[in-house]
């Protein structure tokens, strides 16, 4: 486990990949960090894929931030697939609960 690791956000045409360690100070801090993903959901004309498999840690403020993305996709009726790694504890435990917010969100193992 690396305490020096930080997060990395890579935008793709059909979604985004988030990896590393993301423990920002507040939900508001995540809003700016994930602004590009919010913009992509706003502009989406088809399904999007959010790859979180490489995200080793996310704090509870980050879970709130993810829920905001999911709710935005729900409001805009954007179908979303979230790629997860079931070896990562928080992903295995928390993301199935998050998926209950939006029936058009599918979790897919890497």
């Amino acid at each position: 486990m690396s305490v020096e690791a930080e997060y990395k956000l890579e935008m793709r045409a059909d979604g985004a990949t988030l990896s590393g360690v993301m423990r920002l100070v507040s939900p508001a801090a995540y809003r700016s960090a994930l602004a590009a993903v919010h913009d992509q959901i706003d502009a989406a004309t088809g399904p999007l894929e959010l790859d979180l498999a490489g995200l080793q840690f996310l704090n509870s403020s980050g879970i709130t931030a993810l829920s905001r993305l999911v709710m935005q996709a729900r409001e805009r009726s954007v179908t979303m697939t979230v790629i997860i790694d079931e070896q990562v504890s928080w992903q295995k435990k928390t993301l199935p609960s998050l998926a209950r917010l939006y029936p058009k969100l599918t979790l897919k193992g890497r």
Binding site: M1, V3, V21, R23, L24, V25, S26, P27, A28, R31, Q56, F57, N59, S60, S61, I63, T64, S67, R68, M71, V88, S89, W90, K92, K93, T94, S97, L98, R100, L101
Partner: protein, 189 residues
């Protein structure tokens, strides 16, 4: 200091003679506020210290770091005086791991914590988690309010708090938050 309230789950009494490991750390909240990543670094350090008790060390380290980080972030955010030391103590009893944090908090934060723990003790954590997500998604508060609920939902943590009066300051309280985790829940990841 006078005890003014106890709230939360019923915790298992422990015999200090049966303790396998103990670690207690004092921190200044201001250090965490100035460099937020210190929360994560401290959580990783404490998790790394205790992971040797577990067969699947990487999984235990993930779970412990996740939980401890939430508690340390709360100490930073909810301490009324950012220059007054706060503490975190971890004890390992074989079947159980306990974590106790202590800090001084202002009345509104203390009242909110009491209400949250009382609700958590009687409400399905999954239901509470979804309710809190819907609530916080529409606000920009400094804290999500999800951390403790998540520990209960994901790892079956039992949580309780003792609230004590601060002499000569009716608006502040010493909050001792106790968390208890079954070791097998940590090992399942």
């Amino acid at each position: 200091m006078d005890l003014v309230g106890q709230v939360g789950d019923t915790l298992t009494p422990q015999d200090p003679a049966e303790r396998l490991s103990k670690l207690r750390v004092e921190l200044l909240p201001i250090d965490l506020i100035v460099q937020w990543r210190r929360c994560s670094k401290m959580a990783d350090f404490l998790a790394g210290y205790f992971e040797y008790h577990f067969e699947d060390r990487p999984v235990a380290a993930q779970v412990l770091s996740t939980g401890l980080n939430e508690l340390i972030e709360n100490l930073a955010k909810f301490s009324a005086n950012k220059q007054k030391p706060v503490s975190i103590e971890i004890n390992h009893y074989g079947e159980l791991l306990t974590v106790t944090t202590e800090n001084e908090a202002a009345r509104p934060q203390t009242t909110a914590l009491r209400a949250r723990l009382a609700r958590m003790a009687t409400t399905d954590p999954e239901e509470l988690f979804l309710e809190q997500l819907e609530h916080t998604a529409s606000s920009d508060r400094a804290a999500s309010g999800l951390g403790l609920i998540n520990l209960k939902k994901d790892y079956g943590a039992r949580l309780a708090a003792e609230i004590r009066a601060v002499p000569d300051d009716p608006e502040r309280f010493v909050v001792s938050l106790q968390l208890e985790l079954n070791v097998d829940a940590i090992e399942r990841g």
